[in-house]
């Protein structure tokens, strides 16, 4: 009995570790764990990061929505609001350019030997997260609730079948990637 309970607790953690190893391996092979590649993207001189993200979204979206149609998976869209996603997103963006890594790629950069990521960036992210936790009681009923729209997805927003959004979104991403290649970026 006790061993089965323990197995139940440990198995998700091992899956998390295994998925993380694959994720980190891929990020490093793509160059996304490198400051130069990330800043190159933000300076619009190197489109590696956007190519990785858009092709991941294209493939991920088709598969997840197909599995959803089969009843194999459910979705976990995050709830949001204008105050939350626009302001938070812009603050994150400023940090993205100043640090040159994001929370996922900084873990990869640490594995790659980036010491500015360990000593500066990681410490900063921990401080920034703690700062938010301290301010959260004052923010949660105010600015974070401004323009609240809940855990909406585009198919539900437009009240249409999933594929009415998935197919055009996939086509649009494909055209963007094709256009990036054509433009030699």
């Amino acid at each position: 009995m006790q061993t089965s309970v323990r197995k139940k607790e440990i198995s998700p953690l091992l899956w998390g570790l295994a998925f993380g190893i694959v994720f980190g391996f891929l990020l490093q092979k793509g160059g996304a764990t490198s400051y130069d590649v990330i800043i190159g993207q933000l300076l619009l001189t190197d489109f590696t990061v956007l190519k990785i993200m858009l092709s991941a979204v294209l493939v991920g979206m088709m598969g997840i929505y197909a599995m959803k149609a089969l009843g194999w998976v459910e979705l976990y869209p995050k709830s949001g609001s204008a105050g939350k996603n626009i302001i938070g997103g812009l603050i994150f963006g400023v940090g993205f350019a100043v640090l040159g890594y994001c929370p996922g790629t900084i873990a990869g950069a640490i594995g790659n030997g980036a010491l500015d990521a360990v000593v500066g960036g990681l410490a900063g992210i921990l401080i920034g997260s703690g700062l938010f936790a301290a301010l959260y009681p004052r923010l949660r009923q105010g600015i974070l609730k401004k323009g609240d729209f809940g855990d909406l997805t585009f198919p539900r927003l437009f009240k249409v079948n999933d594929w009415v959004i998935v197919i055009p979104a996939a086509t649009l991403i494909f055209i963007m990637l094709y256009w990036l290649e054509r433009a030699g970026l």
Partner: protein, 172 residues
């Protein structure tokens, strides 16, 4: 198996790989790929070492829970996976100052670390404010067609592109 020792793969191969990886995280773990909440948990756990159990009672930590979970292990895995990839290809190196930074602002490690610290504070704070980061919103949320994630991801890049241009074109 030679592809494992290559320094770089095509960004499309990497993107397709991450897309397929996300199928399996949904199927097996019933969770999307995401990273940033683990940093908030770590921050809370460190605070707890100094201030004790009352840290658990902070509303934000009650919301996310201060424990090592699936996503926390995922982030540990990312460090290991990147290390394996870099060691296999010989791309691993200890480095204080990235080369693009060195070209614009010189090789002083203290300056780079202070700027990285400031950037990290914004990232940590902004990720919690927006409720996710480049993986949770930028990849996993957008592929689910979540409205919150598309708004966030677009704002990440608007803020990032403007700031990078200010840093490297106006100052650098």
């Amino acid at each position: 198996m030679e592809f494992l020792t290559e320094v770089r793969w095509s960004p499309y191969a990497v993107g397709v790989g991450i897309g397929i990886l996300s199928w399996f995280t949904f199927l097996i773990s019933r969770k999307p790929l995401a990273c940033s909440t683990s940093f908030a948990r770590t921050s809370g756990m460190i605070e707890k070492l100094f201030l004790g159990k009352k840290v658990d009672l902070k509303p934000y930590y009650q919301k996310i829970g201060l424990a090592v979970d699936w996503q926390w292990m995922l982030v540990v895995g990312v460090i290991i996976g990147s290390l394996i990839s870099a060691l296999l290809s010989g791309d691993f190196r200890w480095q204080w100052v990235p080369s693009l930074w060195k070209t614009a602002f010189g090789g002083n490690p203290y300056l780079r670390v202070i700027v990285a610290l400031v950037g990290g504070v914004c990232i940590g704070f902004g990720a919690r404010w927006a409720g996710g980061c480049t993986s949770g919103h930028g990849i996993s949320g957008t592929l689910q067609l979540a409205v919150s994630s598309w708004i966030s991801a677009i704002c990440f890049f608007i803020g990032g592109i403007l700031t990078a241009h200010i840093i490297f074109i106006l100052i650098g």
